[in-house]
Symmetry: C2
Subunit: 417 residues, 2 copies
């Protein structure tokens, strides 16, 4: 064990998901959109072990997969001769990734792609690793769960081998939102591995800018294995946190993004992004003079929101913010209905909209629409009893909801040993 620990460190990292704040669909027509991090996180615990195996444990997918180090070494020896594309084909075959791959095989592919790439030069001394991943993000809900997964793996592997370093910070009030999920702790306790970490995550750390960029580059590569040609927004948001403004394929970080409390609601109605994009295209082509002004209006909502968010981020503690929140609420409501008018709404999303409206919360669908998720803005000092009540009612309707925040931290290391 001592020899292994010199090579690799134990590490616990996490990365957030993303939501589209405003501008979904309009962005297809060259309008601006804003994506922001959402503090439902993917957590990764990486533990060097002298087992001779690499073991991936994904309780969310009921997946435990073990690969003998010897096999991975063989795989690497094959790869070294071929082109990048050849190497990828070898890896895909190894993970049973065919035409319509399962989520489990894609999860294995992403791990092994990043592991063989990042730990390439450490394979000779590698005696085994356990990798436990737990995600608070539902899969396939448009919340960037695959990007958060890739970011965690890239950050975890780069950190454990010392390729990047963590700027440790003492615990502060922020730490609360980074507590290790109870489900993950339980899982570790059950497996008798509680020695690896204490229940409370006692310190956390940031990465330097160039290290974040390396994590971003590698997680984007991993995302292409899952999504073909992703925009890169999901992994960027997961790595850097905050918010990103994007238009015509280009994007940049928004400087002043406050952290906002939201209720994220997952309708559990499967969305089909392609179908929704095609529906808007169809309406746009049939009624250009009707639909074009709506896309203009959506972009104006984006720009107005950006201004208001910057003002909110610049407020000193205690300065009144009611009016700014009120504006953000109005814009949520208007855009929800506009997204309905361009054909990407769904009865379940309107149900969420009405349920939250009844207690005075403005909400909108987020992402592709036609199902998927909605977000409701929770202004400061909002009645927690009203919130509990609506969460209960949403659950009764078969929806899942989380009180969380947007605009917060990107990838973080919580524990290194």
């Amino acid at each position: 064990m001592a020899a292994v620990k010199e090579v690799l460190k134990s590490v616990l990292v996490s990365a957030p998901g993303k939501v589209i704040l405003h501008g979904e669909h309009a962005v297809v027509y060259g309008k601006t959109a804003i994506a922001t991090s959402v503090d439902l996180r993917c957590y990764l615990l990486l533990s060097p072990r002298a087992t001779g195996d690499v073991k991936l444990i994904l309780p969310d997918m009921q997946l435990t997969q073990t690969w003998p180090i010897s096999e991975l070494k063989k795989l690497l020896s094959q790869r070294i001769e071929g082109t990048d594309d050849d190497n990828l084909q070898i890896l895909k075959r190894f993970c049973n990734v065919g035409e319509n791959p399962s989520m489990k095989s894609l999860a294995c592919l992403v791990l092994l792609y990043l592991l063989t790439k990042i730990l390439h030069h450490k394979m000779a001394t590698l005696t085994g690793i356990d990798i436990l991943i737990y995600s608070q993000l539902p899969f396939g809900a448009g919340l960037g769960s695959s990007a958060a997964y890739s970011v965690c793996i890239a950050a975890g592997l780069l950190t454990c081998c010392g390729a990047i370093t963590v700027n440790k910070k003492e615990a502060n009030s922020d730490i609360k939102s980074h507590n290790l999920p109870e489900m993950m702790l339980e899982y570790i306790r059950e497996r008798g591995e509680g020695v690896l970490l204490t229940d409370a995550v006692s310190s956390w750390g940031e990465y330097a800018k160039e290290d974040l960029e390396l994590i971003n580059k590698l997680s984007y590569e991993a995302e292409t294995l899952v999504h073909g040609t992703p925009s890169g927004i999901d992994n960027s948001i997961s790595v850097f946190g905050g918010a990103i403004k994007f238009k015509n394929g280009a994007f940049k970080q928004i400087d002043k993004m406050p952290s906002l409390t939201i209720l994220l609601v997952y309708t559990k109605v499967l969305r089909n992004t392609k179908k929704m994009v095609a529906r808007v295209r169809d309406l746009h082509d049939k009624y250009p003079s009707v639909i074009s002004p709506l896309l203009t209006s959506i972009e104006e909502i984006v720009l107005k929101s950006e201004t208001v968010l910057a003002k909110l981020a610049s407020l000193s503690e205690g300065e009144p913010n009611n009016e700014l929140y009120s504006t953000l609420q109005d814009l949520f409501t208007i855009n929800h209905h506009l997204l309905n008018s361009i054909g990407v709404g769904h009865a379940s999303l309107d149900k969420v909209h009405h349920m939250t409206s009844e207690i005075g919360l403005a909400s909108k669908l987020t992402g592709a629409g036609g199902g998927g998720c909605a977000i409701a803005l929770i202004p400061p000092g909002f009645s927690s009893s009203h919130l509990s009540e609506v969460k209960g009612r949403l659950e009764e309707s078969g929806f899942e909801s989380w009180e969380t925040s947007i605009g917060g931290n990107g990838v973080r290391a919580h524990w290194i040993h």
Copy 2:
């Protein structure tokens, strides 16, 4: 009786209500809107009687009011000396119309205003009239019930005294929709006055253009007693039928308006037009760059609808119209959501929208919003079982619905004796 009949004729007339097809609220900002007749009608049966009284019977309001002819003559003798405004004040006092008049007292005011104006020179020979009015239009639902009421009274009085004449037509297939409502027939039977008319309305007639204009002028005057400064759209639609395009206070009849079958749904949620107009104004002033494009889009919906309606009206029997109906449906759906986005929606209206959507019918709120009515377009050949089903479900939700048509006839005489 014989002498009376030489003076006044018995007459049965009816006049339709109105709905806004598209453009509500946007019209306040100088955009075009379209109003159309809706074939829920107000029916008036006027019977000369030698009772010495004028008797108004309004079963809908549980109102039966009797005025001795002698009192009305006294009223007229007072009026003759004063100015128009003085005369109106005398009439208002006579009908107990104060600051916040009841609907009953306004109903009396409108009748007596038109009666004393139209029958002014016949008062000497008048021995009595019974006026029975039954309306299929709910009050205060934005369907122009007060205009239809005034139009019926003006047309009925002008016809009974021979001031205007009816071009009699033989009964044709159209007559079905002008059958006297069963409720009215029952009422007459109960009162033992079935001798006045047969159960089936056996002929109907149109008025000449200049006579319609006289009815329109008088009914507008009566509308000012109820609404202050009405736009004149409600009475014009009720008199001329079809559809009217209006913008910046000016309006003109649409030449080619087909009759379309619709489901009219009344949510029974009281609407407040002033509040709704103020809400749009508030949003418009706060977010002009967001709201202005939406009003532009609404006007484009109006213009596109007008083109499609003209095409539909020009089709020969049997020519395919699926695509035109499909466009009208799309425009209904888009505008429903746009009206939501400018803040005039209501949970009940969205409920109607979802219920009708589920069986494939496009619907939109109509009029001021925030409650009131919605209309769903029923394409030709639509499943009547689906329609019955949704009508049942709407009723279970506390809504009232009517399968009726828009764009049909204005005021009509059904029976003269």
